[in-house]
Structures are given as C-alpha cells and as structure tokens.
Symmetry: C2
Amino acid sequence: MGMETHKTEDRHQSEYLYRPDILQKLDFNKSPAVFNPRISTVNPGADWMVVRPLQRGDFDKGFLQLLSQLTSTGSITRKQFDERFTQMKISGGHYVTVIEDKRSSKIIAAATLTVEQKFIHNCSLRGRLEDVVVNDTYRGKQLGKLIVVTVSLLAQELGCYKMSLDCKDKLIKFYESLGYKLEPGNSNAMNMRFEEDPS
Amino acid sequence: MGMETHKTEDRHQSEYLYRPDILQKLDFNKSPAVFNPRISTVNPGADWMVVRPLQRGDFDKGFLQLLSQLTSTGSITRKQFDERFTQMKISGGHYVTVIEDKRSSKIIAAATLTVEQKFIHNCSLRGRLEDVVVNDTYRGKQLGKLIVVTVSLLAQELGCYKMSLDCKDKLIKFYESLGYKLEPGNSNAMNMRFEEDPS
C-alpha cells in the first residue's frame, strides 16, 4: 500500500501540462533567430538541461521562485498550484514551458504560450507570449532566446496564424532578432488595472 | 416527432456561449467612461437592442458578416462555426459578446474578452480585449463604447487583475476615455505572422 501510494505520487509529480512530444517536432530552421553555438529545444546546449512542458512536480523545483524574479507571485500554496495546473490542463490553450537544470532539479527558465480561439481568419488560432523569465545566474547560455523560440515555433506547430507579445522598450531589439515586428501605426499595448474590491 | 425536433433546434439556436446572467451584474459606475445619454448593458438605449453573449444561432444573424467588416473571416461554414462555438465553450475563457438589433434579428456590434489563467499574482487571471466591431450604419449610438465597457467590466467581475488590448494609433484616445492606459516604456505590441505551410 505504501509503495503503491508512492508510485502514484511519482506519476502525479511527473504529469505534464501538455503533451511533451510536440516539442520534439519543432524545426529551428524556421526561426530567423541566430544561435551561436547552435542549440535547439531537443539539444539545449548541455546534457544537464532539458526543455519540456511544466510538470505538476515543478512546485518543488523552484518554478514559482523563478517566476518571482519576473513579478509578484504572492504566496501560492501547493493546493493553489495544483488547482491552477488542473484548470489550465482542462481548459487547454495554456502552454507553460520550462528549462530544468537536472543537476540541481531546478527550473531555470520559463515562458508561456497561450492560444486564443478565433472566428476571424477561418476560425483561426492566435498565440501570445507571456511570462518569459530566465534565472540570472544562467546568463550567456542563450536560454532566453531558446525558450522564446521554442514557444514561438510551438505556436506555429499548433496552427496559429500569428503570435503576439507586449514588451518594454529595451526588449524590442531582442524580439526583433527573433522575428517579431512592431507594425507601424498599430503597435500600442494598453492596459486597465482593476483595483481590489475593498468588500 | 417533427415538433419535438423543432423545439430541440430552437433550444440549440438559443444556446449561449457563456451564462448571460453575469452581464446583468455589471456596474457601470465602476467605469470612467462617460455616456451621454446614459446607457448600460442592461439598458442599451433602445428597447430593440439587447447586449448578450454570442448564441449558436448567431450564424444566421449576420455575426460573421459583421466580423468581416473588421478583417478577413474567410468562408466559414455552419459546421465550422458550430465546432468553434463548441470548442470555445468547452475551453471556457472566451467571452464573445454581441449587440443584436431585435427588429431585424441582426448582430450589430461585437467584442470578445479572453481570459488567461496565470500563476503570477496569486494564480490570477488576465483579460484581453479582442475583435471589437460595430456596424457602420449604427454610428452615434455609443455602441462601441457600450460593448467595450461591457466586456471590460465583465473582466473585472470575473476577477481579472488587469485587462489588456492592442490598438492602432488613432484609437488610443478612445480607449483612454474608457480607462485604458499606455504605460511609459512598456507599451509595445509586437507580432510574428506565420507563413502558410506550402505542404
């Protein structure tokens, strides 16, 4: 019984948010990004790194701590993480993708592709790049480029007609080098932030 | 049997993409938008107009023809429309909202709220405004403002921490009047468009 439970838990922790095999199909020759040395999703540059979908067990691999380098995450419990993971999986369209350092069992980079369903353009799909973050201590390994190109090619593989992102001024050149463009007269990202309801 | 089939079809055609009652709760006092005269989701300004979620039967009410005023829709069959409607409903997170002219049974305005699930900000939600369109012949009735404020308040009602949109330069002032802001140094919308796979 104890062993049975343990096995179940192992399987649970390795549960993927989305099918990992789709990442094996990505053709880096389709991306205008220049890698030096050449790396890809399947060959990320070192045998101790792996690029893969988020797993349920990444709660214990520092995924949320990595995200907190990007913005406020709040204090998310295991239960909240599990529920969000399950909701994302049921809904589909949420492709949270990570790079793990297998030596330390830590998540060192992450990016999310979300896919919106449309009626326009023949009931098409539109991808969005979200929440890109790389651990500061892993600079110089092209991991930012690698994770962004991975989810961008994933959007194309899934049939999106375009992929969009919002970014700060200082990141424009980076994203241009990966094939993203500012469209003249049509490149404004606006936001409305909602106040907390005091009730 | 014939009548039974007819009834079933009627119900089918009136099927909503999402629960319509949530639109009754929206508090227009929460929006900085100024309406003159004052209208709202519940009181859109004339008894022949109704603001509601997309229905399956809107295929026959000119919904796709309205969208084609915005951008290319291609030639979408009833089967394709039905399938997309069903997929959106199963996934959740796709709040296509319309205004119908009940005199002519035509859709005269539409806007979509999509809701992304996040881990950041305490497993929050982020709204996106998409595919806003108003029939040209219904100008001067504040319908653009009405449909955008409706889905913006809907995002807040659903618990989104922010709502985002991409727009053309000429629409910045309009969206600013509704509470949207360009954030200095962080308001760039970039796109990558994928070529058709020739295979």
